[in-house]
Each structure stands twice: as C-alpha cells, then as structure tokens.
C-alpha cells in the first residue's frame, strides 16, 4: 500500500506558486543573490538576448515566408520558411500519389479525432469506443489502401510522410503494449521456464540496436517463413519496432509489478481469485498506474524511434524531408526544413507528456 499512497501524496512543492512574494524579493532570491550570482545572471541574460535577437532577425525580420522562387530566398539574409510552404506536400505525405493526398488529410483528421476521444476519460465506455475504433480502422484502411468505393489502390510501399509516422507509432504502441505486459508477467511468473524465456527474449533484444532489429525484419525474417508465404514489409517493420519497444516497456512494467505488495496477491488468493483474475483486476491496474511516468517516456521514445525507418528506406516524415532536400534549387534551406520536422516531433512529444501529466493527476485524484 505504501507504493500507492506515495503515488497519491504529491511531492511537496519547493515553493508555493500561489504565494505572493514581492518582485524584488524574488529577484534577489533567484537572480541576484550574491555578486557571483548577479554576474552570472548578467552574462547569461546577455547571451540569451543575443540569441533571441538572432532568432528574431533570422527567423522573422529577414525571413522569406512565401515565394515560389528559390532565388528570392537566396537573396534574403534570413530564414526561408517558403521552402516549407513550397515543399510541405512531399514532406508531409511522401511518395503517396499526389492527387490522392486529400485522403491522407482526411485520414489524419479521423485518426486524431479518434485518438483524442479515446484519451478522454469521459468517453471511456466500450459502447462508444468499440464502434469508434471499428469505424476509424475501417475508414483509415479504406482511405490508405483504396481499392474500394472507387478509390484508387495504393500499395503500402507508396505510403509515406506524417501519416506513415502516425501509423508506425500507433501500431508500435498497440502491438507493443500487450506484448510488453505478457513479457513482464512472464518475467515475474511462478514458472521458471516462463521466466527464462522472457528473460532471454527481453535481454537479447535490449542488448542490440534497433537498426539490427529492422534489418532482421526487412532482410532476414522473410527467410524464416515457408516458401510462398509473404508478410507485408510495413507490417514486419511495425512489428519489429513494436517488439523492441515491448522489451523496454516490459522492464518498466516489471518495476511496477515488483512494487505491488505481496499482501495484494494474498488477499486475492483468499478471495479465491485465479491467477488471471488476480492479474487482470488487482495486479495490472496497480502496476500500470505505478509505472505510468516511465511508460509515458517509452511511448514518447517509441514515437521518436519510428524515425529509424529511414535506414530501411521507408518514407516517414524524416525520410521524405531528406528526399525533398535533394531538390538542387531548395537544398540550401535544409535548416528550415529540419527545424520543421523537429517541431512536428516536439509538438507531438509535448502533447503526449502533457497528457501523461494529466493522467497522473487523474490517478492521484482517484478519477481513474
């Protein structure tokens, strides 16, 4: 119980944000405590001002925001944000047939709406979520693949850009989390063989770089299948990233499992609950709550890890951007393009961590 109560007891804040302190006191305490402090503050502030002035100068004042002529950009001393305007479609959608890009836009809208609704506790009820996900899966599938309703068929090898990143990420989490839970349970199982299998699996995959796992998924795995059997490459890659993700996540969940006091198992046993009943209703709900912050970190890491597919030539948003930056006319403005991609990742990463913080609050207040 101590673990849960320590979860609920929020750490005492170092300072009370609502306390009204006078500005001078605050300044003295935080910026000008001593001579050295003040000196440091001045130097840092000077550097900061220079930096922000540079950003303003380069990124706003002298920047070109819209033009179709790269020479206009060349003439400017500031940033060329026009490259993003000009190239946003190949960057965001990769090799997907140009005329069909509207399908990807629609897909992303459906995807984001579905995800946002699913993350909202108010809508956590299966009668809403199950139809929603069936609808989302079917419509996203129809939009991405086509071949129905008069939509042109688009093979997975032509998918790309941000939608691909989203699908890889979603697939990784949806496939990886159950695998992670199973591996974590296996590693804590009363059966030595199950423990052994899980340990070998987890440790050998955690010991190698993701790249080698992608190599296996792309180059070696097909050899493991009987002749004539084929598994879609995109699926193989997704499963590869998912299993890699699961091995790290399993260790996090194991930490949560270890934190559950023995008494919880005993109480469940004395109520005559079976192993799976105990795991499902007593152990996992607590273990997942305990390890939530670490789980979130790995989920965000999984999103970043999707970018590794550049190595095997999948056209995610990063690969697509590097390809776009091949255009000799716009090549010079790679900084702007990569900043844009970085901003996309930062945005989604930040959104995820904000949500995770909200979930922790909900847990603390007993809402979930």
């Amino acid at each position: 119980m101590t673990t849960i109560s320590s979860q609920i007891a929020t750490p005492a804040p170092t300072y009370d944000p609502h306390a009204r302190i006078s500005g001078t006191v605050w300044l003295k305490a935080n910026l000008f405590g001593s001579i050295w402090q003040s000196l440091l503050t001045v130097i840092v502030a000077a550097g900061l001002i220079r930096f922000f002035w540079f950003v303003l100068d380069w990124g706003v004042i002298n920047a070109v925001f819209y033009t179709t002529d790269p020479d206009v950009c060349r003439a400017a001393t500031g940033a060329c944000w026009a490259v993003i305007v000009e190239k946003h479609r190949p960057m965001l959608f990769g090799l997907y047939p140009y005329d069909e890009h509207w399908r990807l836009v629609l897909m992303m809208v459906i995807y984001l709406v579905t995800v946002v609704i699913s993350l909202w506790p108010r809508f956590w009820n299966l009668r809403l979520l199950v139809p929603l996900w069936i609808f989302a899966t079917l419509s996203i599938g129809a939009l991405m693949f086509g071949g129905v309703l008069g939509l042109r068929y688009v093979a997975t090898s032509e998918w790309g850009g941000l939608p691909l990143t989203m699908l890889l990420f979603t697939g990784t989490v949806l496939i990886g989390m159950p695998v992670a839970v199973l591996l974590a349970l296996g590693r804590r199982a009363p059966l030595p063989v199950a423990r052994g299998v899980s340990v070998v699996f987890i440790e050998s995959l955690r010991g190698v770089p993701l790249i080698t796992i992608l190599f296996v998924a792309v180059n070696v795995f097909p050899l493991f299948l009987p002749a004539g059997m084929e598994v879609n490459k995109l699926l193989r890659i997704t499963v590869g990233i998912a299993i890699f993700f699961a091995c790290y996540q399993a260790e996090v969940i194991r930490g949560g499992l270890q934190a559950i006091p023995r008494g919880q198992y005993e109480a469940a046993q004395s109520l005559s609950l079976s192993y799976w009943q105990t795991t499902r209703t007593i152990i996992l709900p607590q273990a997942l709550r305990i390890s939530l912050p670490a789980i979130t970190n790995h989920i965000i890491a999984a999103m970043k890890n999707t970018s590794f597919v550049i190595i095997i030539g999948l056209f995610d948003i990063l690969t697509a951007t590097t390809a776009v930056m091949q255009d000799p006319l716009w090549r010079k403005f790679y900084v702007e393009a990569y900043l844009f991609v970085a901003a996309v990742y930062l945005f989604f990463g930040y959104a995820l961590s904000l949500y995770a913080r909200q979930v922790e609050k909900w847990i603390a207040s007993g809402r979930i």
Binding site: P90, L95, Y96, P97, Y98, D99, V154, A155, S157, E158, G196, V199, V200, F201, E203, S204, G207, V218, N219, V220, F221, P222, L223, L225, A227, G228, E230, K233, I310, I311, I312, G313, T322, A323, M325, Q326, P328, L329, R331
Partner: protein, 346 residues
C-alpha cells in the same frame, strides 16, 4: 540478471551458428510463374530513385529503362504490361528481397558476377545494359583523368561492385583515396553535391541522371572519360526455378530480336502480316514459343505492342532528347558493333 543475460546471449549465438552451419541440400523448386499468375501481378524489385533506370515521378508513377523491362515481363505473362507492382529496394535490401521471395525478379542495376551467381543463389538473365564504373567530378576542380583523383574523397554506395572496382582501379595505379560510403542514395548524392566528396562514383550510366536532376548547375559537373571496369547489368531471379528463369531470359532476348527483325512498337501490327518466318515465329503467328514458356503465344506481340523493342525502350529513356542522354555504344545490336545478341527463337 547478468547470468540470464549471458544465457540469452549463448542461446542466441547457438541459434545463429546453427542456422549458418546447416548442411546444404538442394530442394525442390518453387513455381514462380504459377505464383505470379495466381497473384495477378509481377513483383519487380527496382532502384528507389535512379533517373533513366527507375524512379517514381511526383505522381508516384514509375518510369525508367529497368521499369520497362518489368513491364515487358508483365506483358509476356498477362498480356497486360501494367500488371506490375514495383518494390523499391536499397542496395542492401535487394538480394535478401529476391532470396526471400519478396520480389519475383530483380531489375535493379545488378551487375552479373560470378560470386553473386553462386553464393547469392541468383540466376542472371542476359545483360540488358553494358556499362562500367564512372566518376562524376566538378569541372572547376580540374580533374581530367583518374590519376588526378589521387588523395580524393570519393562517395559511393556500400556493397556495390563499384566499391570493389574503385579499390582495384586505384590500387592498380598506386593511387590513394578516401571512400565515403553511404547507403541511403539521397544522402549519398547529397554528400557529393554539397562538396563532401571530390567525386561520385556509380555505374557510368547512372551518373548523367544525377548530373541532370540532382545538381544545381549540371554544366558544372563532368564525367571522367574512359571505362574502368565491366558492369553488365542484368535482371536476376532466384536459383532453383528454371521455368521462371527461362521466361525472364527470353523476354530479354525477345526485345533484342524484335529490334533486330525490325519489329517496333509503331509497326508491330503491320509486321504481324509479315512473310518472314522469323518474324512470324517471334510474334506467335506460327510456332508455339509461348506455350513452351508457359505463356500466351502472343507474348512477344504484347511486349512490343505495349512496351516496345529494345531500341524503343532505350530511346525512351536514354535517347538524345531525354534528360539522361547516353550514346548506345556497347548497348547496340551485334549487327551494329554492339554486344546485344539475341539467341534464335526457334
């Protein structure tokens, strides 16, 4: 935990060694042609972006010299050249992809060599394109011959025959160089264009495409004259499936022979009425060439009608008005001093 890690390690090691040390045995062959027919399309492994040979346009439609040979196979099998699915393969992925059956045929700038024929378990159809190692350099560096590249940084793709050829070319002349080896083609070209390397080396035939499409000012780059190695590019299939190999081989010959017999995309319908027995056999008016290969007797007609003969294909992508203009040189028929020699189709 350490103990378990070590155990895991040794288990994995023994697995890997077990796979590798397995005895070799010849097993029955798969039937690719039947599989292709059942699937309704040919899976063709192509280069992700090599102008002139294979590249998707901005609408995602593939075009190029090798792409057309994929279409030719589809035309032969289905009578419909469009029944192809293109699988873009990096140089690293190409051999595992054909070995594992991810693609039916590799039309991806593969140089036919002995070790690839044997150790990789490939079978090579007749070369469709003869080329050699070429070097793209900046004009204002004042490089005129290979000796001028002494000490240069040279960009190249890993695992290509080029990588080995350059090592030999330089070693034979007592020259040194620094290889910059990058798998991702975009990154590779980028490294040359931005000036990381003094030279970009690829198959000679691939360099004009880079110059035309990837450099800011194509006229600022030149290709070194001379041919430094043999690079016969050929379509490759898996070993152990002779029927499929035969088909790919004869599709190649058919394009040669059609050109030799003067059967082109423009005149193929008229030529169907030709009195020449060779033309008649070629176009399936007489004989049963198609049946012997397991396809429709009008297979060559379909190829020429929908894709063209060798010359049609060549001119479409390397003709004088294409961005990647290339002289035919060795890639002319034997009758015109080139190396293309189609076996008789009797």
């Amino acid at each position: 935990m350490i103990k378990t890690k070590v155990v895991g390690l040794s288990i994995m090691a023994s697995l890997m060694l077990g796979v590798a040390g397995a005895p070799m045995a010849r097993a029955g062959s798969g039937d690719t042609l039947a599989a292709v027919k059942a699937r309704g399309e040919v899976l063709c492994g192509v280069h992700p972006a090599r102008h002139g040979f294979a590249a998707p346009d901005s609408l995602g439609k593939w075009s190029g010299f090798e792409v057309d040979f994929c279409h030719a196979i589809a035309a032969a099998v289905f009578g419909d050249a469009s029944k192809v699915r293109f699988v873009a393969l990096s140089s690293q992925q190409r051999f595992p992809a054909i070995q594992s059956g991810e693609v039916d045929v590799l039309a991806r700038n593969v140089t036919a060599t002995l070790s690839r024929d044997t150790a990789l378990g490939l079978n090579f159809a007749p070369p469709v394109f003869y080329t050699g190692t070429g070097f793209l350099v900046r004009k204002d560096d004042g490089i005129a011959k290979i000796e001028d590249l002494d000490g240069a940084a040279i960009c190249m793709a890993p695992g290509s025959t080029t990588e080995r050829n350059v090592a030999q070319i330089f070693a034979a002349r007592g020259l040194t160089y620094t290889p910059v080896v990058i798998e991702n083609n975009k990154q590779l070209v980028d490294a040359y264009v931005t000036g990381r390397c003094d030279a970009l080396t690829k198959d000679k035939a691939a360099l004009p495409g880079v110059r035309a499409f990837d450099t800011e000012d194509p006229s600022a780059h030149i290709m070194l004259p001379g041919i430094y190695s043999k690079e016969p590019l050929a379509m490759a299939v898996r070993q152990g499936d002779d029927n499929w190999y035969d088909l790919v081989k004869w599709v190649t010959y058919a394009t040669f022979n059609a050109e030799e017999l003067g059967v082109s995309q423009d005149n193929v319908d008229e030529m169907k009425n030709s009195e020449d027995p060779d033309v008649q056999a070629l176009l399936g008016v007489i004989g049963d060439n198609g049946a012997k290969l397991g396809v429709d007797n009008g297979w060559v007609y379909a190829i020429v009608k929908q894709v063209g003969n060798y010359k049609d294909i060549y001119m479409r992508h390397f003709g004088p008005y294409s961005p990647v203009a290339l002289d035919r040189d060795q890639n002319a028929l034997w009758t015109e001093g080139g190396l293309l020699y189609g076996f008789p189709m009797q």
